[in-house]
C-alpha cells in the first residue's frame, strides 16, 4: 500500500478494495461485516430500538486523550447509552482528503476498533470517499448506531421533575479545553487531557442501581450549560446549580481563566448529566463512584420548581445568576 491516500483510493476499483481489505477489515472484522454485502444483515430480537447518527470534524485530528476515530465511536455509543439503550451496531463513513497519511488513518481505525471492542459494539457497515486536496480538512468521519432500549427504562429529556437532583460523572470542560489549547498551541503546561470515553458501561451500572432514572444526557458541544438548558426547556422546569460543587480540574480552571471562557460552556466527550429523585440520588451516585468513569461524580444542582424553563447558578458569594443557552461559538477575549 502507498503511504498516502490518493483519489484512486476512493475510485471504487482495486485500490479501494485493497484499502478496505487491508485496513478497515483488518481492524473492524466481524462476521456481519465480513459477509461484504451492500448492507449489514442483522437479527433484531428486541422491541424498542434506539437509532442515532453523528459526524466528526475535529481539528486537531489527534489530541491528548484521543483522536477523531475514538471520538466517532464514543460519541455515537454515548448517544445510544444515554437513551437507555444497549449499543449494538455501528456504521462508519470516512471522507478523506487526498494526500492523507495512511499510517495516520491506520492509527485512527485501530483506535476505533479498540474503543468499539471495549464498548461491546460491532462496526458492521462502512463507506470511504476520497476528495481532492482542500475539500476537507484531513479526515471527516460519520458514525451511525443502533441499540436496544432496556425494558422498564424510560429516559427522556422531558422527564425531569421538581425535586430531582442533578448529578455529573466528573470534571467539566476537559475535552473542549484540551482541543482549544492544542489547536492554538497555547503552550499551557499540565495535565490537560480529553475525557473522550464510551460511557455505556457506566450507564449500565447506574441503571442497575436504579432503573427509574429520569434523564441522562451527554454534555458535549455547548457544555453542561447547553444540555441543562435543553432539559429545562423540554421538561419545563427550573434548575439551580451550586457553583461550589462543580467539579473542575486545576488545568481547566487555569486555561479557562486565561482565555476568559466559562467551563460550564466548554465541550465534554465523556460526561453525562443525570436527573434522579432525591431519594435515589445517593444510590445512583455511589454506583457511579465505583466505576472508573464516575469516580469524581458529584451532585451539582437540583430541579427547584415545576415551570420556569430557566437554569440558575448559586454563586460562591451567595448570589444567583442566569446560566443561559450558549449563543454562537465561544471566542477568546481581548484582554
Amino acid at each position: 500500500m502507498s503511504d498516502t491516500i490518493t483519489l484512486s483510493h476512493g475510485s471504487g476499483g482495486i485500490q479501494t478494495n485493497k484499502l478496505i481489505n487491508e485496513l478497515f477489515f483488518k481492524y473492524f472484522n466481524n462476521p456481519i461485516l465480513d459477509m461484504m454485502n451492500d448492507s449489514a444483515q442483522i437479527d433484531i430480537d428486541f422491541k424498542k430500538l434506539a437509532f442515532t447518527t453523528d459526524s466528526f470534524v475535529v481539528n486537531p485530528i489527534f489530541f491528548c486523550g484521543g483522536n477523531i476515530g475514538k471520538l466517532a465511536v464514543c460519541g455515537t455509543v454515548n448517544d445510544l447509552a444515554v437513551s437507555g439503550a444497549k449499543p449494538l451496531y455501528l456504521t462508519s463513513a470516512f471522507i478523506i482528503e487526498e494526500g492523507f497519511s495512511i499510517k495516520k488513518l491506520e492509527e485512527i481505525v485501530k483506535s476505533m476498533a479498540e474503543e468499539a471492542n471495549k464498548a461491546g459494539v460491532k462496526i458492521v457497515a462502512g463507506d470511504t470517499k476520497v476528495v481532492e486536496k482542500g475539500n476537507v480538512d484531513g479526515i471527516f468521519i460519520n458514525t451511525s448506531g443502533i441499540g436496544s432500549i432496556y425494558e422498564n427504562v424510560n429516559i427522556n429529556c422531558a422527564n425531569a421533575k421538581a425535586g430531582d437532583v442533578v448529578i455529573i460523572n466528573g470534571t467539566l470542560g476537559d475535552h473542549g479545553m484540551t482541543i482549544m489549547c492544542e489547536r492554538n498551541e497555547l503552550g499551557f503546561e499540565g495535565d490537560l487531557k480529553s475525557d473522550c470515553a464510551c460511557l455505556n458501561s457506566l450507564v449500565d451500572v447506574m441503571l442497575e442501581a436504579y432503573e427509574g432514572i429520569h434523564v441522562i444526557r451527554d454534555a458535549t458541544r455547548g457544555g453542561v450549560a447547553a444540555v441543562l438548558n435543553e432539559i429545562s426547556e423540554f421538561s419545563n422546569v427550573t434548575i439551580a446549580l451550586e457553583e461550589n460543587n462543580l467539579p473542575l480540574k486545576e488545568e481547566v480552571k487555569g486555561a479557562a481563566e486565561m482565555l476568559g471562557l466559562d467551563p460550564l460552556y466548554v465541550a465534554n466527550e465523556g460526561k453525562i448529566c443525570v436527573f434522579v429523585e432525591e431519594d435515589y440520588a445517593e444510590k445512583v451516585l455511589n454506583s457511579m463512584r465505583k466505576h472508573p468513569l464516575g469516580s469524581e461524580a458529584a451532585i451539582i444542582g437540583k430541579v427547584t420548581e415545576e415551570l420556569g424553563n430557566k437554569v440558575y447558578l448559586n454563586t460562591v458569594v451567595g448570589g444567583k445568576r442566569l446560566v443561559d443557552m450558549p449563543s454562537g461559538i465561544q471566542l477568546p477575549r481581548i484582554c
Binding site: 454563586t315 444567583k320 445568576r321 443561559d324 449563543s327 454562537g328 471566542l331 477575549r333 481581548i334 484582554c335
Partner: protein, 363 residues
C-alpha cells in the same frame, strides 16, 4: 488553583458581604469602569448580595464597545482587499458593521484569523510572504504595549508585510469626561485592575484631588471585588477622598515602567473618538513617525472618516452609565447576541452582553 480558588472562597466571601452591608446606609453610586469587572460582578451574582443603598453602574471600560462604528466598517473594507489576512482578537468577530461583520466576511471567504496575542502576527507575516497581514489593534493601556512590542520586533526583523489598524485608547481621560458630566452622579470608582497594572494608580489621583471622588483599584475575583467595594464604601462614607490599591499582588503605584517605555517609544497620544461618548482630548494612541510605516490606514491609503452607531442603539448612554441595558427598547427584542445592533451586545465585556447572559430578573 493558586491565586484563583483563594479568591473565590465561599466562607470569606460571605464574611465580606456581611461587612459590606454594615458600613453605611446612605445612597452611594459606584461605577465599575472596566468591562471585565462588569462581567465578574454578573458572573458571581455580586449585585444580589450588595446592600440596597449601594448602586453599581457599569462604565465605558470595554474596548470593543467604545470603538466607533466607522472602525468596524473600515475593517470590513480592508478584509475585501486582495492578498490580505486580517488578524483579530475573537471579540471583534461578531461586532456588527453597517452592512456586515467579520464573522460574515469570513464565511464569504475573506481570510480572517483569530489571534491570542499580537505577537502571533509576526510568524503569520513570515509564513505568508505574498500576503499583507493586518492586525486589528484595539484595546486600552493593557493591550497597547503588546502592539508596540510587536511593531518594534517587526521593525527589528525587517518584516514589511505586517500592518496595524490601531484604535488604542487610554482610560483616565474618559473618566475625566464622565465626572464632568453633570447628568451623572458618581460617588466612587472601582478602578480597572488590568489598566492600573500598566499605568499604576497615580494617573487616577485627579479624581480625589480635583473632584472629591474616591477610587479603589481592585482585581476580578469575587473576594477582590467585595474587598474593593468595602474599602470604597468606607472612604465614601467618611468623605475621605483618595485612591486606594486593593490589588497589590498585581498593581504597583508606579505601574509597569517597561510597558510604559514601549508605549512611549511607538505611540503619540492623540485625540480620539469614543463610540456613543464623542471625541475626547488626548485619549487615544497613534503610531509616531518612527512606526508610521506599520499604519494600515496610511499603507492602504484609506481616507478614514469617523462616524457613530446604529439608529436606536443606546450604547452611548449605557457606556456612560446613564441608562441600563434594560432601559433600551432594542434590548432582547431587536438586539440579541445572534442579531446584535450594537457592539455592547457581543463583546465579551459588553454591559448589554452581561445583562443578557447573566441577569436573572429578565424574562
Amino acid at each position: 488553583m493558586k491565586f484563583v480558588d483563594e479568591f473565590r472562597n465561599n466562607e470569606y466571601s460571605r464574611k465580606l458581604v456581611e461587612k459590606l452591608n454594615n458600613i453605611s446606609k446612605e445612597k452611594i453610586n459606584i461605577m465599575e469602569v472596566c468591562g471585565t469587572h462588569t462581567m465578574s460582578i454578573f458572573r458571581y451574582g455580586i449585585r444580589d448580595v450588595l446592600p440596597p443603598n449601594v448602586n453599581l453602574i457599569s462604565g465605558p471600560g470595554c474596548p470593543i464597545c467604545v470603538t466607533p462604528q466607522s472602525y468596524i466598517d473600515t475593517t470590513l473594507t480592508l478584509s475585501d482587499k486582495e492578498d490580505v489576512i486580517i488578524a483579530t482578537f475573537g471579540d471583534m468577530m461578531k461586532v456588527p458593521g453597517k452592512k456586515s461583520s467579520l464573522s460574515k466576511k469570513k464565511s464569504e471567504g475573506a481570510d480572517i484569523r483569530i489571534v491570542y496575542s499580537p505577537m502571533d502576527c509576526l510568524e503569520m507575516a513570515v509564513q505568508n510572504p505574498s500576503k499583507k497581514v493586518i492586525l486589528l489593534s484595539v484595546g486600552f493601556e493593557t493591550t497597547a504595549p503588546m502592539t508596540a512590542v510587536t511593531a518594534m520586533e517587526a521593525k527589528k526583523r525587517n518584516i514589511t508585510n505586517l500592518f496595524f489598524f490601531t484604535a488604542h485608547k487610554i482610560v483616565p481621560p474618559v473618566m475625566k469626561a464622565l465626572v464632568k458630566d453633570k447628568d451623572l452622579k458618581i460617588d466612587g470608582f472601582l478602578l480597572p485592575g488590568h489598566v492600573s497594572a500598566i499605568i499604576g494608580t497615580k494617573p487616577f489621583e485627579f479624581l480625589s484631588k480635583d473632584y472629591n471622588i474616591s477610587g479603589v483599584v481592585t482585581g476580578f475575583e469575587p473576594l477582590d471585588i467585595l474587598q474593593g467595594l468595602i474599602t470604597l464604601v468606607s472612604l465614601i462614607s467618611k468623605k475621605d477622598y483618595k485612591i486606594e490599591n486593593e490589588y497589590k499582588r498585581i498593581v504597583k503605584a508606579d505601574g509597569n515602567s517597561k510597558a510604559e517605555i514601549y508605549l512611549n517609544k511607538a505611540f503619540n497620544i492623540v485625540d480620539s473618538s469614543w463610540r456613543g461618548i464623542g471625541r475626547i482630548h488626548k485619549s487615544g494612541l497613534e503610531f509616531n513617525n518612527e512606526y508610521e510605516d506599520f499604519d494600515a490606514l496610511k499603507h492602504f491609503k484609506i481616507n478614514y472618516e469617523e462616524y457613530d452607531g446604529s439608529p436606536g442603539c443606546k450604547c452611548g448612554e449605557i457606556l456612560k452609565g446613564k441608562i441600563k441595558p434594560t432601559d433600551c427598547k432594542l434590548f432582547k427584542k431587536l438586539c440579541t447576541p445572534e442579531n446584535p445592533v450594537g457592539s455592547c451586545m457581543v463583546s465579551s465585556e459588553g454591559t448589554c452582553a452581561a445583562y443578557y447572559r447573566y441577569y436573572k430578573d429578565i424574562t
